[in-house]
Amino acid sequence: MTGELSALGRYTGPATLVLSSLADGPKHGYALTKDIEHFAGVHLAPGTLYAALDRLVDHGLIEGLEAVGRRRPYKITAVGATALMAHLQAQRRVTETGLGRLSGEWGTP
């Protein structure tokens, strides 16, 4: 299933990036932005990032931790990890199917 993540509608993309970034430990807003830039090449604008964070918190997929200075780190929850894994596994099936058929029909890229 794509489950809860796809239930986030237009925020599914940013939410997947945020959850993937938090999967190796808590990060605050700007650390998230930089990390996502690094591994996905996507510049998440601040408004989009916070919209995604809000929804992820609403759905219980991440939680805000005690602020460190003026920065608040966010942490993935067990539910969030589960949802991310289900979502990524579904995406992997699509990726593998697509790549497989491309290599059959269009030759190895």
Partner: protein
């Protein structure tokens, strides 16, 4: 206040006050970092304005969620306690509009699309939370369709949802998967004996014992689906593990192979990052 901070705070005023109360400081820092790191980003301000307007437009629709997640925790606990004390699930009714209210009575079957996104509220030490519908509806990782669209509400004094959070009050379970939660009480039947006396027969709940399968190493949706399908109550606990991959089961208590009561609670440790 430097000019970057001033610009950041000015942009933030597009967001409603209640949003700023919980997010202002962290958001201003993020904006400052962003502006310093990437001074020229034409779309950034517009992005903030658009998202702020969206927050304002969604405000009335989702105010009950906001109350749950953005108010200070003590207030929510207070409201929740009052809610439970008055009518068991008063929280949602006092805290704003829901999808068609809460038209549920005990053991009545309700269609999936009539259930609010947030099913239940749990209160623990320093913690208030809720169970998202999506997880409860499809703990085995299947799509919501496999539910047949049906969930049964359950009342109990110490209820454990499929998600595993304990709270007093009301909860919902998938029909047919969790007999443990369907609040079975042993029933006493009185009958007259030939000599004029009375015998009391107690009819036990249908559940019996079962051998717990070993789910260690499985991914969480599969494991929880398997366990809750057997009827045991599943309590999920975060475990910081470096050896077990994220989202997989690290241990269960009792262990696999143990004989458990079908309505017993099983704690499963799930690997989460630190």
């Amino acid at each position: 206040m430097n000019s970057v901070e001033r610009r950041a705070r000015r942009l933030l005023r597009w967001y409603p006050r209640w949003w700023r109360e919980t997010h202002e400081e962290e958001f201003v820092v993020l904006l400052e970092d962003s502006m310093v790191d990437r001074p020229f980003w034409p779309g950034r301000s517009l992005n903030i304005v658009m998202n702020a307007l969206r927050v304002r437009s969604e405000q009335s629709r989702t105010s009950y969620r906001r109350l749950l997640v953005s108010s200070s925790a003590p207030l929510v606990v207070l409201i929740a306690v009052i809610g439970f004390a008055t009518n068991g699930f008063g929280l949602l009714s006092v805290s704003g509009p829901t999808k068609g209210g809460m038209p549920y009575s005990q053991n009545k079957i309700v269609p999936y699309n009539k259930i609010p996104d947030y099913l239940s509220v749990y209160i623990g030490p320093n913690k208030v939370g809720y169970t998202p519908k999506a997880y409860l509806a499809a703990p085995d990782g299947s799509s919501n369709d496999s539910l047949d669209g049906r969930i049964a509400p359950v009342f109990a004094s110490n209820l454990t949802t499929l998600l595993g959070h304990e709270y007093p009050g009301i909860g919902f379970v998938r029909l047919g998967t969790s007999p443990w939660a369907l609040s079975c009480k042993p029933e006493s039947v009185y009958s007259e004996t030939a000599g004029g006396g009375q015998t009391i027969t107690t009819i036990p709940c249908p559940s019996t014992t079962l051998v717990l399968p070993n789910v260690v190493g499985m991914v969480t949706p599969t494991a929880v689906g398997e366990l809750s399908g057997l009827g045991v109550g599943v309590v999920i606990q975060d475990v910081h593990s470096t050896s077990v991959p994220l989202g997989h089961i690290v241990w269960t208590s009792p262990r696999g192979g143990a004989t458990v009561h079908a309505r017993q609670q099983v704690v499963v440790g799930i690997s989460v990052p630190n």
